[in-house]
Amino acid sequence: MRLMLEPRAERSALIAVAAPLIAIALSLVTAVILFAVMGKNPIVALDVYFVAPLTDPYSLGEIAVKATPLVMVAVGLSLCYVANIWNIGAEGQFLAGAVAGSWIAVSTNGSGAGHWVLPAMLLLGALGGALYALIPAICKVRFGASEILTSLMLVYVANLGLDYLVRGPWRDPHGLNFPMTADFDPVATVPTLFDGSRVHAGSIAALVVVMLAAVFLGRTIMGFEIRLVGAAPRAARFSGFNAERLVLFTFAISGALAGLAGIVEVAGPVGHLQPGISPGYGFTAIIVAFLGRLNPVGILIAGLFLALTFIGGEGAQIAMKVPLDLTKVFQGILLFYVLACDSLIVHRIRFVGMTRKPAHAAP
């Protein structure tokens, strides 16, 4: 017997929905093996990871808090990926947005400024992320530089830039020399939605982003252009669309969303600017985007699931003494299976009877 992938005449709508679920199932099986090898009880581990967080209201809130930046960033990234444009640097754009927005918060700190501060921060955050994302986009359009490398490398630049600011000019003078800014004023803070929970207004913004993206991608001519460039670049050119403009546009949009997620995170749950404001949201969002099939609604579900692994991972670290890195391993395994299962949408598996000398059967 051997396996063969053969193309389907039409993409399978059933598999398109089932593929992420199959990928999750395969990841869970792999995780069970991994736990067993580490000498942990897999049943307990799965319970701590995937069930316990869902039974506790506070953890549910935390899932929403984690999912908010993931979803926002992933929706932006999905626009790039649908068009076969590879923005890998959302982490950097996230930080750039956080820094750009924090500038207003830091400079108005304690000055009693009015309610214009938060909207201005959000605007500047999105703008900062967009401008930062345009650097690799322009390098690609002008010089043909690979956006994969340039956008990735700019992540480290952003990290170091943030590091410099919070250790240097923006450091809180009363902060006991910790590398962080002063806590933001209330007018510079994203309000929370419920008492006793960290769920904030940014989660609603993420839902709005999902809905807008779904309409944009499916219903507008710009969205069609993005899908067209991804599906058949020569047809896009024949159609009269400008591929270079599209690179700039998708990078700017995804950068803006990443930047917005960054400033919302800083002005929301964190409350001040400091290193390590992102536990790799920009990179995890890549997984979210693909797990969600580059579909905004899918991304919302995938974002919640990945957030669950973050919260579950923290719980497991405490309850079972397993390293937090295991969460990242799990996320990596998940991405691997997602991409593998994707091929089933346009291909089907066929078992071929393995006969090395099939030609010489009975006369």
Partner: protein, 537 residues
């Protein structure tokens, strides 16, 4: 001329019904059936291929020709029926097994790596490891022996379609096949190239090899083939000797009804040029591109001008320059309805009333994994009501797709399928129909019936003639001289980026066109006269 290659060849192996001594078939396909869901692609088909014969498989698109040969080549497992090769029952696990037996196939769409050389491509396709130098030597020897000149060290992207086909044929021949399957091999060739191919095929036949020859072109089948098996809607209609049939009788067997001849009647009065190309030059833009050298041409409303030429002589560049995918050096080199459009992009030219049908269907003219309604939007987004304030009106796009399908008889499995699920002929009807329904002032279409069956080809040609009859200027770039002769008013020839002066179709014999396509000098007398004729017409 047509029978030159064949008349000299005795017919050692006619089919048993001819009454000669029965010869065992090389390949017997008995009762082959293949179902896809409810659709029966092959219904109990019986086929005997004798040693040393060229056996045609004739049929419209969707008749089941490709399915049948894919079964024989081991790509598809039949649901029922058996294959016998040299008298023995065979079960093919895949193409490798077929090749091991001596069955080789040349596909209509080549499987070549463009950035590799000829020899590297051949080496990749060979089953057994072999020193590269030995492959090169064997390649050169095989190519030479069969009169298929190929430079083993050239990269494939530098080669014309005809040359690429040679690679596939040589690659197949290097495995010394007993049965060679060719899927629409002349769809991409000039008459001269086709003639060369026929010489090679007859040579192979005389060596005792058998050839399965899939084609829509009846005259070719009559010229070349000893036997023809006609398929219609998955069933075998007949096996016959094509030389004892008429083109009309073969067509009737294929289609099940008489094929309408193209009606040339159209009202033509004095008309103004709607497309003027004035000394259009295009430099080689990167190594993959060819050049255009001061190409000039006028196409008037109501006329069809054909551009003949061997593939790779600047047709692609001319198409791209006219469509706006590549821009001219200055605006005045291309006038569309009198407006300088040389610097306009595709969308702006479409707004001027131009329409384009490129040679490549999948990936350029249509997106395989998008629905037909979205493919209608591909060129329809420019005008019409499909886009309102940036939003797509899905009812409009679907209605447009329905309109195209209804007007041009596009056959599909459901209302709005993905383009990839349509057969080549139906997708081509869709693409041509999509542009024609926009009622363009000027239409350029490249290879309008490339690999399309007789019925669809007739529909498309008639549609082009009718479009010209309504006052549109139509420019047809084609390698099919019969097609150009059938529909064109004037024919120009492109060679190495130079465009000849157009000849009146009545004066453009195959011989003259063939010479021009080979780069022979143009008789200067013909040019001004023809130019004048065109303007006067």
């Amino acid at each position: 001329m047509a029978n030159r290659c064949i008349t000299g060849t005795p017919m050692p192996n006619t089919f048993p019904s001819a009454g000669s001594e029965p010869v065992a078939p090389l390949l017997r396909a008995a009762g082959i059936s293949k179902r896809y869901g409810n659709c029966i692609a092959n219904d109990a088909i019986h086929l005997d291929v004798y040693p040393g014969e060229i056996h045609a498989i004739l049929g419209e698109n969707g008749a089941g020709k490709s399915t049948l040969v894919k079964v024989i080549y081991g790509l598809i497992q039949p649901n029922a029926g058996e294959l016998r090769f040299m008298g023995r029952r065979i079960v093919l696990a895949g193409p490798a097994a077929a090749r091991a037996l001596g069955i080789a196939m040349v596909f209509q769409h080549f499987s070549l790596f463009e950035n590799l050389t000829v020899a590297e491509n051949v080496a990749l396709g060979l089953p057994l490891p072999e020193p590269f130098a030995a492959i090169c030597a064997r390649l050169a020897k095989t190519a030479l022996a069969y009169g298929l000149p190929l430079d083993p060290r050239r990269e494939v992207w530098r080669l014309s379609v005809g040359e690429r086909q040679r690679i596939e044929i040589v690659r197949a021949l290097m495995q010394n096949p007993k049965l060679l399957i060719l899927d629409e091999p002349t769809a991409v060739l000039t008459p001269q190239e086709a003639d060369q191919l026929f010489v090679v095929l007859n040579r192979l036949k005389n060596e005792g090899r058998s050839i399965l020859y899939i084609s829509h072109k009846l005259d070719e089948v009559q010229r070349l083939c000893d036997t023809a098996t006609v398929l219609r809607a998955g069933k075998k209609v007949a096996t016959c000797d094509p030389r004892r049939e008429t083109a009309a009788s073969l067509a009737r067997m294929m289609v099940g009804a008489d094929v309408d001849r193209v009606k040339a009647s159209r009202a033509r009065g004095a008309s103004v040029p709607r497309l003027v190309i004035d000394r259009l030059s295009l430099s080689a833009d990167g190594p993959h591109e060819g050049r255009l050298k001061e190409v000039s041409l006028k196409v008037c409303g109501g006329e069809i001008v054909g551009i003949a030429g061997v593939a790779g002589n600047g047709q692609d560049e001319l198409f791209a320059a006219l469509s706006g995918e590549r821009l001219a050096a200055n605006a005045e080199t291309i006038l569309i309805d009198g407006r300088a459009a040389g610097l306009f992009g595709v969308t702006e030219r479409r707004r001027l009333g131009a329409a384009f049908v490129p040679e490549e269907r999948l990936g350029r003219g249509a997106v395989p994994r998008m629905k037909l309604s979205e493919n209608a939007l591909l060129t329809g987004h420019v005008a019409s009501g499909m886009v309102k304030r940036g939003f797509i009106d899905k009812r409009e796009t679907l209605a447009a797709a329905d309109r195209i399908a209804a007007t041009f008889d596009v056959r599909k499995a459901k209302r709005d399928p993905e383009a990839a699920s349509l057969s080549g002929g139906n997708l081509q009807k869709f693409m041509v129909g999509r542009e024609i329904l926009r009622e363009p002032g000027f239409l350029v279409v490249s290879q309008p019936t490339w690999g399309v069956d007789a019925g669809a080809a007739a529909t498309i040609r008639q549609a082009l003639i009718d479009l010209a009859g309504r006052g549109t200027a139509v420019l047809v770039i084609s390698q099919d001289l019969d097609e150009l002769a059938e529909i064109s008013d004037r024919i120009a020839v492109i060679f190495d980026g130079n465009l000849s002066a157009p000849l009146a179709a009545s004066a453009a014999s195959r011989e003259i066109l063939g010479l021009l396509m080979g780069g022979a000098a143009i008789e200067p007398r013909a040019c001004p006269q023809e130019e004048k004729h065109a303007v006067d017409a």
